[in-house]
């Protein structure tokens, strides 16, 4: 990597006052670059994808037993056709989906206004709320789970569906606030002011300007909330009581060997998630294009 630094020709006259560094006029000078970084990136990316690939592939494995096995016995859709064959798995999956949808909706309903307050106003208690939101994300799941269980035990709230939902909304809420805040801080208030200048009432300005700007952020936040909720094991394990969510079922089954249907459900969640992710990035790109 011995590079005598030939000054990049474009760099010199770049006007100093250019406000937007993201305008990507000048990037790092393109020079000889070792292959180390790309190789490093792709090797580790493949490693991170290995369990997912394994899951998808082995969900099609025609195993003779109803537990996943190492050997490949040929391609089959049998496990997908018999998704509900395993006692309790279908119910657990359904419960997880219901809880994920509800907690995404509730946490968006609570989180979007909170994010607007935090991002657009100064008010008493703002710092405390910001810190609480941060702590909610940063706190170890095991502590949050244990604390929530303590709370429900000391208030004699019976464990089950509702306690799982309450707790899921709580941790999703923090993520929604962070995502929506980031989105709001990116857009600024210029457009709302323009709307007001053009005679829009605050309500019209909100409906016609702020809300459409927020939609991609809300979809991203909702998708994140869905993913966090459907994925959570640690916190749920404390407050579930008799309720069995999908991760709880998987964890219990993992001790004795997974039935292949677990991989099928995992693959289905993965496929749906991928679709939502692609849709959102497409929407964002389209929004950016029409926004300019």
């Amino acid at each position: 990597m011995s590079t005598t630094t030939a000054p990049a020709p474009a760099a010199g006259p770049a006007p100093r006052g250019l406000p937007d560094p993201a305008a990507n006029v000048v990037r790092l000078p393109r020079k000889r670059r070792g292959p180390f970084l790309p190789i490093f990136f792709w090797v580790f990316l493949v490693i991170t994808l290995l369990p997912i690939i394994t899951m998808v592939v082995y969900s099609f494995n025609n195993t003779p037993t109803s537990r996943i096995t190492f050997n490949w016995h040929g391609f089959t859709l049998y496990w997908y056709e018999n998704l509900t064959q395993v006692q309790g798995l279908g119910d657990a999956f359904l419960l997880s989906v219901v809880i994920a949808l509800l907690s995404a909706i509730i946490s968006i309903a609570l989180g979007v206004p909170l994010a607007m307050a935090l991002e657009r106003y100064r008010f008493f208690g703002k710092g405390a709320i910001s810190t609480t939101v941060f702590a909610d994300i940063a706190a170890p799941s095991i502590v949050v789970g244990a604390a929530s269980l303590s709370f429900f035990l000391s208030t004699s709230i019976p464990l089950g569906f509702w306690t799982v939902l309450l707790v899921h909304v709580t941790f999703c809420l923090a993520y929604v606030v962070v995502v929506v805040r980031a989105r709001l801080s990116g857009t600024g208030t210029v457009l709302e002011q323009a709307a007001a200048d053009l005679g829009a009432s605050p309500f019209t300005a909100f409906v016609k300007v702020t809300l459409p700007l927020l939609v991609p952020g809300m979809i991203a936040a909702g998708a994140l909330a869905l993913a966090m909720s459907i994925d959570d094991y640690v916190i749920t394990s404390f407050v579930a009581g008799p309720a069995v969510t999908f991760p709880l079922f998987v964890y219990g089954a993992a001790k004795v060997g997974l039935p292949p249907q677990v991989l099928c459900f995992g693959t289905i969640i993965f496929a749906v998630g991928l679709l939502v992710m692609l849709l959102n990035s497409w929407l964002t790109r389209r929004g950016q294009k029409s926004g300019r």
Partner: protein, 305 residues
């Protein structure tokens, strides 16, 4: 709540902001969300402490008795809980270091070495793991790395490792699992910090005859400190308490504080013991992170949110 959302003309400048100080809108907007956080996050954390001071047993229930002695019992001399706590912290630290060593170059690659059009796609690939339940992913690792599994079969087949070589049940397996699960939490904040760097600073360094390595260590690395800090925070806290990787990828010698808390609560129903364990863990993690924040820099914690 949404009926309240139509915010009156938004404050445009600091001076206008002053005028809106007495505006009720932010309070109304924040009311429901912050009440939820107070009741279901802040109060439970306090009630965790309260439960630890109770006495009783699983059969007859627990009553609040200011039983501070529980901390002496749980963390007395010779108590193995210190070992479990220490192990959890060691796993957390090791996993954090691994994620930095792997995640930084990955983030750097996305930020500086690919065309802008590709960046989002690559970030999406890094985050793809989030779409699969981490219990399944961890169990897939257990499946892949088990003694009869594909990875070890291949390694044995080419005589790279001996017959009695294991991966599962070792510290390395647990640390690898933790690092794997949290890698994206390190890549994303570092990537954001790298993207914020003004390319002119890097050019300036080159113009001043800084070598590539000097540019990296004196310009790029210091400018991404906040990203690394955020990543460390997320990864360390999450992995130090995680009970899943140690129990699915580890063995009897990888028992951590996270598992101890879970077992005390859910298996043995020793609520006071479990609450004491979790309180101590929270305090120890808090002290470590506070000390780290003081030493590593004075980043405003709100900037990370």
């Amino acid at each position: 709540m949404t009926a309240l959302a139509p915010a009156p003309a938004l404050p445009a400048s600091p001076t206008m902001r002053q005028r809106f100080r007495r505006n009720p809108a932010p309070y109304l907007l924040a009311l429901a969300g912050s009440a939820w956080l107070l009741i279901l996050f802040v109060i439970p954390l306090i009630s965790g402490l309260a439960v630890s001071l109770m006495t009783g047993n699983p059969e007859q229930g627990y009553t609040f008795t200011w039983n501070w002695a529980i901390y002496g019992q749980v963390f007395g001399i010779g108590s193995s809980n210190w070992l479990f706590l220490g192990r959890g912290i060691w796993y957390g630290l090791a996993a954090t270091i691994v994620t930095i060593l792997v995640g930084y170059p990955m983030a750097y690659f996305i930020a500086f070495r690919v065309r802008p059009a590709w960046k989002n796609a690559l970030l999406l690939l890094v985050m793809l793991s989030f779409l699969v339940s981490f219990v399944i992913r961890t169990d897939m690792w257990a499946f892949l790395l088990s003694d009869q599994g594909p990875v070890l079969s291949v390694l044995r087949g080419i005589h790279l490792v001996g017959k009695d070589f294991h991966i599962l049940g070792t510290d390395a397996a647990v640390i690898g699992g933790l690092a794997y699960n949290d890698l994206a939490f390190m890549v994303l904040p570092i990537y954001v910090a790298l993207e914020r760097i003004d390319p002119r600073l890097i050019e300036a360094s080159a113009d001043l005859y800084g070598k590539k390595s000097a540019t990296f260590f004196h310009t790029v690395l210091p400018l991404t400190r906040s990203g690394i800090f955020a990543g460390i925070l997320l990864v360390f806290i999450d992995s130090a308490g995680d009970p899943v990787s140690p129990s699915l990828l580890g063995g009897t010698h990888t028992y951590t504080i996270g598992q101890a808390i879970q077992d005390a609560y859910l298996t043995n129903q020793q609520y006071n013991v479990a609450a004491a364990l979790s309180t101590v863990m929270m305090i120890v993690l808090g002290v470590i992170l506070f000390a780290y924040a003081r030493i590593a820099g004075t980043d405003n914690i709100e900037d990370l949110v």
